[in-house]
């Protein structure tokens, strides 16, 4: 009989450890639409210097992401619930599209890409175990662990850091590649332009 309170205590402890400490995220802004610039450094195995790219992003909470790379060459990554598509070449004419209902990993990847730019907790928690802790440099640091076993080995670590907005994302993949993205010049908005609506469709 004495066991019971003990068990209850243990289970509550276990549960509280699983819940991310969201109070740390209290100052995180949650706009419907967020625009901004990104600077990406990708350290690829076999490369002496990281591949640098910069561009603009638009993220619509719970809907999708436009990742428009402008330098060193133009490329557009579009992510929404149904698909992930990549366009490049002259006038972004060369497009590859992946269907989320057919690709086993794509749902997780889409959630990651959409969620990481604005630290969208519901979006991320659907696919990842999320842990938040305080940090000296930024206000908070968030680490993500894929829920899907098959994906766990794919990422060595995923880390987001920020305050009001996400300031940086660090992705380390099993292949040895490491991506660091920094976000700047964030601007909140409540609607998309017609062009963006068309691109996200």
């Amino acid at each position: 009989m004495k066991m019971l309170p003990c068990l209850v205590l243990i289970t509550t402890m276990v549960q509280s450890a699983e819940v991310p400490r969201t109070e740390l995220l209290h100052q995180l802004s949650q706009p419907v639409v967020l625009r901004g610039n990104f600077a990406q450094q990708r350290q690829i195995v076999g490369f002496r210097r990281p591949v640098q790219s910069t561009g603009r992003f638009v993220v619509v909470r719970g809907t999708g992401l436009l990742w428009h790379t402008l330098r060193p060459f133009e490329s557009m990554l579009t992510v929404n619930r149904q698909k992930l598509s990549m366009s490049s070449g002259p006038g972004l004419s060369n497009t590859t599209t992946l269907d989320a209902t057919k690709e086993p990993m794509l749902r997780t990847l889409n959630s990651l890409l959409q969620g990481m730019v604005v630290a969208d907790l519901p979006e991320l928690q659907a696919q990842f175990d999320v842990e938040v802790r305080p940090s000296g440099v930024t206000d908070w640091v968030m680490t993500l662990q894929p829920k899907q076993a098959a994906l766990r080995s794919r990422f060595v670590s995923i880390e987001l850091a920020g305050g009001k907005y996400v300031q940086s994302v660090r992705l380390q993949e099993q292949t040895g590649d490491v991506t660091i993205v920094r976000f700047t010049d964030q601007m909140e908005d409540d609607h998309l332009t017609d062009v963006e609506v068309g691109q996200l469709r």
């Binding site: 195995v45 591949v51 060459f73």
Partner: protein, 769 residues
């Protein structure tokens, strides 16, 4: 009184007692662990081809233990709650749930596949690489360079175009299921489905009396409905079909068995007004059925459920001998019973012989199921007959007075019309034959193996729906690929795959599953490597131009994937396989998705002119076998009829026609009825006619053996009624084949039974009775 029994009888009775004792022991052993088979395919002829046999066995053994439940709703959260309820009911401990069907690859295989990067290229990527201009290849490679994440399988330098990722994704298309929130999920026409695949440890095919899964499934459906979830539940699997078949079969056995038994008891009671005939006739039936079951089990190892369903109708036939004995005994002195037995036994022997020959003729068909039925019936009849012959005079020790019912019944023979040579009879005969001809002209035939299937339509509909939603491969149509070596097998497969790709593009089929998709031939892998390395150089040069980054530009040659490495890395979770036969040749199956009736012809043509590729259409093949044997058995029926006619002429001379004409006419009436009902004639109708030949003639024989004896008429009448009941009940069976068989016997026996007294000879003299 017993002293009147001849010495020979005493020996016979004791010998039979010994047999029954041994039988009892075997029965006790048999019923401790009943082992009945329900699988329809076991009734079908064995493959004449060992390779095909092996292929079918592999396919069946994989499917036998698995079943799946689909839970679907428009609302994902409702689907999840309903699925949780289903799982809690069916498999709370999650021992049976299989969660690996999500299209992902085993880790060990992924590792091996990475080393073969470049040699494994998806079909669409190959086409693209062959035709794409260098600039397009460069664009795509650069695009990959600046994505926030790679495909998780390769770093950019190793695979700038993500070819391996494409290949892995293509392999994942083998399953439509995807992981979502810890479930296996798929979306189909707006419905969110959760798949719960279960695997049983023991084969579902032999666990016939368990029915556990069907019960669990029913209560899961109920809990989901009780909780008010708006969810659809579909279930499919060989084991569920087997359970349903077993349930139906046992129901039918009890209906047919109990029905015939009650009929026999009631008729016996009405006729003889005493408990003794009932007990003794039941005894002969019990021994007959037990012997039938034991001997069948000893010969075949396992008894098929359909055999026992059919066997239950034996009750209506095997009771004839006992009834004949008591009909002859009724109203005579007790002391004369040995004499009576001698008096009726030649007729009984002849009747047993014709019935036995007819049943054995059933066994000539190459269907193992029919052989069982033939053996079962012959043994059952013989054992019942021997019980009557050896034991009845011993056990029957009290006088048997004539009852009023028997008196009235026996007298009815006197009023029965009799064929005579006046003008009315031939005229009406011609009219009736003309009428029958209208039926005969409408006769059609059908040879469909599905006639043997007795699963409930609802269950079959669910199987189809689940197969369509999950995109499962067809178990009935496939290609068999063969080759002297693994390499030649894979090349043969690839030649076929090129043709199948065209059919997929033209939407004739949805897709296919071949070993060579996973392990391409060496030739294909080296061609792929060439394409990949060329593309790699284009990508590297473009990258250098765009970023100025100088990387090691020495290409790494892929390490080709071979079948044995693939097989061992797969850890038993692979959807494809190949095997080696005794002669050292290799074989594999190419399975198809989305086969419809219209696509079969195109598929069959796809194999034409290809080396080592065979089109296998099991439905068609079995139907061809059934058709061949329907024709052969029809010929056998004609030969058998002639044989029986000769036999009867040998014993009865010019009077023989009186014995066989009723049966011939009965057969014609049966065929005419099938014509009128627009029910096509199939092999089982021919079989019913063969049986009719064996049993219908019995009546004629008894009437000829003992002309004018009312007791014989009484026996014939009662035997006829109980036989009709037994087979009439068989016509209620849910198995189409058994139903057709029952209907054939029902119509044939009724008309034969009604016609027989019409052709009875004039009594020798009015003096006798």
């Amino acid at each position: 009184m017993i002293g009147a029994a001849p010495q020979r009888h005493r020996v016979l009775a004791l010998a039979w007692l010994l047999f029954v004792a041994v039988l009892g022991m075997h029965q006790w052993y048999l019923w401790r662990a009943p082992n009945f088979v329900t699988d329809v395919s076991e009734l079908l002829p064995h493959q004449s081809d060992a390779v095909l046999e092996e292929a079918t066995a592999r396919l069946l053994s994989a499917a036998a233990t698995q079943w799946v439940v689909l839970v679907g709703s428009d609302d994902w959260s409702v689907a999840q709650r309903a699925a949780r309820t289903v799982l809690e009911t069916i498999d709370p401990a999650r021992h049976k749930l299989q969660s690996t069907a999500d299209g992902s690859m085993p880790e060990a295989l992924l590792l091996r596949v990475r080393a073969a990067r470049g040699a494994l290229i998806a079909g669409a990527s190959r086409e693209w690489l062959k035709r794409a201009p260098d600039a397009e290849i460069a664009d795509r490679a650069l695009q990959n360079l600046v994505q926030p994440v790679g495909d998780g399988l390769s770093s950019w330098r190793e695979d700038p175009l993500g070819l391996l990722g494409e290949w892995v994704r293509e392999r994942a298309q083998g399953s439509r299921l995807r992981p979502r929130d810890g479930w296996l999920w798929l979306e189909d026409a707006g419905t969110q489905w959760i798949a719960l695949p279960f695997a049983e440890s023991a084969s579902g095919l032999t666990a016939w009396n368990a029915g556990t899964n069907s019960r669990l499934l029913a209560s899961a459906r109920k809990s989901v409905a009780d909780k008010g979830y708006d969810a659809r539940i579909l279930a499919a699997g060989t084991s569920l079909l087997a359970e349903a078949a077993a349930k139906r079969a046992s129901l039918e056995i009890s209906i047919i068995g109990t029905g015939s038994l009650i009929a026999v008891i009631l008729l016996t009671w009405a006729t003889f007004g005493s408990l003794r005939p009932i007990l003794l006739v039941t005894l002969s039936l019990t021994i007959g059925c037990a012997a039938a079951l034991s001997i069948t089990e000893l010969i075949f190892g396992r008894v098929h459920l359909l055999t026992t369903v059919f066997g239950a109708s034996l009750i209506g036939v095997a009771e004839d001998y006992g009834i004949h004995y008591f009909a002859a005994r009724q109203g005579t002195e007790l002391d004369r019973r040995w004499e009576q037995m001698r008096h009726i036994s030649p007729g009984l022997w002849l009747a047993l012989a014709t019935s036995g020959i007819a049943y054995l003729a059933l066994g000539l068909a190459p269907l193992p199921g029919l052989r069982q039925i033939a053996v079962f019936s012959c043994v059952g009849l013989t054992a019942a007959f021997l019980t009557v012959l050896c034991w009845f005079p011993w056990l029957d020790r009290k006088p048997l007075p004539v009852t009023r019912f028997a008196e009235v019944f026996a007298r009815s023979l006197d009023r029965w019309p009799r064929w005579s040579r006046n003008w009315k009879w031939p005229v009406s005969a011609v009219a009736i034959l003309a009428l029958l001809l209208t039926g005969l002209l409408r006769l059609q035939s059908v040879d469909d193996v599905r006639q043997l299937q007795n699963a409930p339509p609802q269950l079959l509909a669910e199987q189809l729906a689940v197969g369509r939603i999950l995109g499962l491969t067809s178990p009935a149509q496939m290609f068999l690929a063969s080759g002297k070596s693994q390499e030649s097998l894979l090349r043969n497969e690839e030649a076929l795959a090129a043709r199948l790709d065209t059919l997929v593009r033209n939407a004739r089929i949805i897709g296919y599953q071949a070993t060579s998709e996973w392990v391409p031939s060496e030739a294909r892998q080296s061609e792929n490597s060439g394409l990949a390395m060329k593309a790699q150089r284009i990508a590297w040069r473009a990258m250098l131009a765009a970023t100025g980054e100088k990387i090691d530009m020495e290409p790494v040659a892929p390490q080709p994937l071979d079948y044995s490495a693939f097989d061992s890395a797969g850890g038993g979770r692979l959807p494809v396989s190949m095997w080696q036969d005794g002669k050292g040749d290799y074989h594999s199956l190419i399975l198809l998705r989305g086969v419809v009736r219209d696509s079969v012809e195109g598929l069959a043509r796809a194999a034409e002119g290809l080396e080592g590729i065979r089109w296998v259409d099991n439905t068609q093949r079995y139907s061809t076998v059934l058709s061949t044997y329907r024709i052969r058995l029809s010929a056998l029926l004609v030969v058998g009829t002639l044989g029986v006619m000769l036999l009867l002429h040998w014993r009865y001379g010019p009077r023989a026609w009186r014995a066989y004409l009723p049966t011939l006419l009965g057969g014609i009436v049966t065929l005419a009825v099938f014509g009128w009902l627009n029910t096509p004639v199939q092999i089982f109708v021919v079989l019913s006619l063969i049986l009719l030949l064996g049993m219908g003639i019995d009546y004629g024989i008894f009437m000829l053996e003992h002309p004018g004896e009312r007791s014989v008429w009484l026996a014939v009448a009662i035997a006829g009624i109980s036989t009709l009941l037994a087979f009439g009940l068989l016509a209620l069976s849910t198995t189409p084949a058994l139903r057709a068989f029952g209907l054939g016997i029902l119509v044939g026996e009724t008309s034969t039974w009604l016609l027989t007294p019409l052709f009875r000879p004039n009594p020798p003299a009015q003096a006798g009775q």
